[in-house]
Symmetry: C2
Subunit: 322 residues, 2 copies
């Protein structure tokens, strides 16, 4: 039997990433040749622009593949002007997409503005008409070929039903060895809360933790653990402060962040953290080691544009002692 796959379920979109000198003032026009000095103040300039395949699940699948996993993305792939862009990009990163629905639709698009001055990334995203995966989307898939399924926190009602289906299949077929993980990323979406009790591994973002009133990562994972299933692990990355996890026995472990030489591109840093965590947990590492690895991989990613330099950088740096 071939190596099992790890599957990430969610969205793929195009990220149009604009690297600017500083976040633009409202009503200005920033171009590739804009003056950097203007009478009365500082100018601005768009230093570079990249069109990248994006979306949380799509990004995490990419990083899993770059780390050597047999990774699959599962989500609707829009058929339109950018069809071949998506197909070629997935192929280049060796991410399986053979089981994805392909639907005629406008391309979900994120316009991202990355500021060199402040290291921030500001996102304006639109998904006009690409349908989300239906509730029965997993029924056609050969579940025995997977050992891990990760769900991006979107399309909540259907994700609940998909997870329900996987759990039921697991109970019926003890030979299915499948771990379920979920991500809660967006704050202020009450419907997301149903996801807490879906996975054996639950990732929550700093934004979600803060929207629940927590101001540090240890309190967040300790305070929110009760919402998860018994036996599960709750993990929360907290930017430059590192990450914390609350284990099944209620104990909390943490890891420091890894700081790159300079902050170049934070787009997809959270997706990278998740991918690296899953990569290590999937091969049986303890949670504290997985956290440490995930902090190193995510911190390394922040120091470079995109994901593709990661394998070489991690190899050269010797940061991952395998």
């Amino acid at each position: 039997m071939p190596e099992r796959r790890v599957m990430t379920v969610g969205m793929v979109c195009v990220d149009i990433i604009n690297y600017v000198v500083r976040f633009p003032d409202e009503d200005t026009d920033v171009g590739s040749n804009s003056p950097l000095e203007v009478p009365g103040g500082l100018g601005n300039r768009c230093l570079d622009q990249q069109w990248c395949r994006g979306g949380n699940a799509s990004n995490s699948a990419t990083v899993l593949s770059l780390l050597g996993a047999n990774a699959e993305f599962f989500g609707s792939i829009p058929q339109g002007d950018l069809t071949s862009f998506f197909e070629e990009d997935f192929r280049r990163d060796r991410v399986h997409v053979d089981r994805c629905p392909r639907l005629a639709a406008r391309t979900p698009t994120s316009c991202v503005i990355v500021s060199a001055a402040s290291g921030t990334r500001t996102i304006v995203h639109s998904n006009s008409d690409l349908p989300e995966l239906p509730a029965d989307a997993l029924r056609r898939l050969p579940l025995r070929e997977y050992d891990w399924i990760h769900f991006e926190g979107r399309n909540i009602a259907n994700v609940n039903k998909m997870v329900e289906y996987v759990r039921a299949e697991r109970e019926k077929n003890p030979e299915l060895k499948l771990t379920i993980s979920v991500e809660l990323e967006k704050a202020n979406r009450p419907e997301l809360d149903t996801l807490f009790s879906l996975g054996e591994v639950v990732f929550i973002s700093k934004d979600v933790a803060m929207s629940k009133g927590f101001t540090d990562m240890e309190s967040a994972v300790r305070g929110l653990k009760a919402r998860t299933l018994p036996g599960s692990v709750l993990i929360c990355p907290w930017g430059e402060l590192g990450a914390a996890a609350c284990l099944a026995d209620g104990s909390v472990v943490t890891s420091e962040a890894h700081r790159p030489p300079s902050v170049v591109d934070t787009v997809g840093a959270g997706d990278t953290f998740i991918a690296a965590c899953i990569w290590r947990l999937r091969r049986g590492d303890p949670v504290n080691r997985a956290l440490r690895t995930a902090c190193v991989v995510a911190g390394t990613k922040v120091g470079v544009k995109g994901f593709r330099p990661l394998p070489q950088l991690l190899k050269d740096s010797g940061l991952l002692h395998e």
Copy 2:
């Protein structure tokens, strides 16, 4: 002989226009489903997103065609993921592009954020590697088929040489009846100043006028007229205050702005103004009438998304008494 063409020379790009509730705060993530109310303040949302063919010259050619002119765009067309998007869009708007160089390159892209709260449009534009038109680009064209050539204010050195060539051809061939117009849009680009003396009709933006120290449109056109060729007309639109022109004899004429019921989309309003001016001047209207028409057409455009509703709206409103 078929009807002569009016040609606009410049750039085509894709404008990804995001209609948001308000201009985003730095480091936020605004999606199509983002909450509008969040603890402690107002949320935001991306209400709609349109991928449009953009670029000043490309927009002006579109509006000229929609107004009934035999319009041509002349500029490099990038060959890549969006090739068929551009070709189909030009065809749909009946803009000739049969003489354009087609070059393999990344697609010049503007990410535009239109705020419903303030009516502003904020632009981040990148042109990574699409070459500008070469200095001899017009030499292959049958100039006798045109009666007006308008140059966008970019690629300055080569535009200077292109205009030089057209002037020389006009002198050699008196049967060439060709008007030259130019646009100076971007402020704080000293090299743009060479364009003042290139056209029989010169358009300058409010930004350019203000960067030269002028605070109202009449003073701007009067004060800058000396930089233009003898016999030329200098025109300056000034947003909601209307537009002014300084004629060959030094006299100044103005027009009030036309206010749409609501400000929906200011993207391309300046390009619309220029197109409508050219449309009327080209058929021999006096400058004051052309200004008035251009203010009506541009104001009408600001009240709708994109350009395509213009012909019907102008017809229905009876604002243009032809």
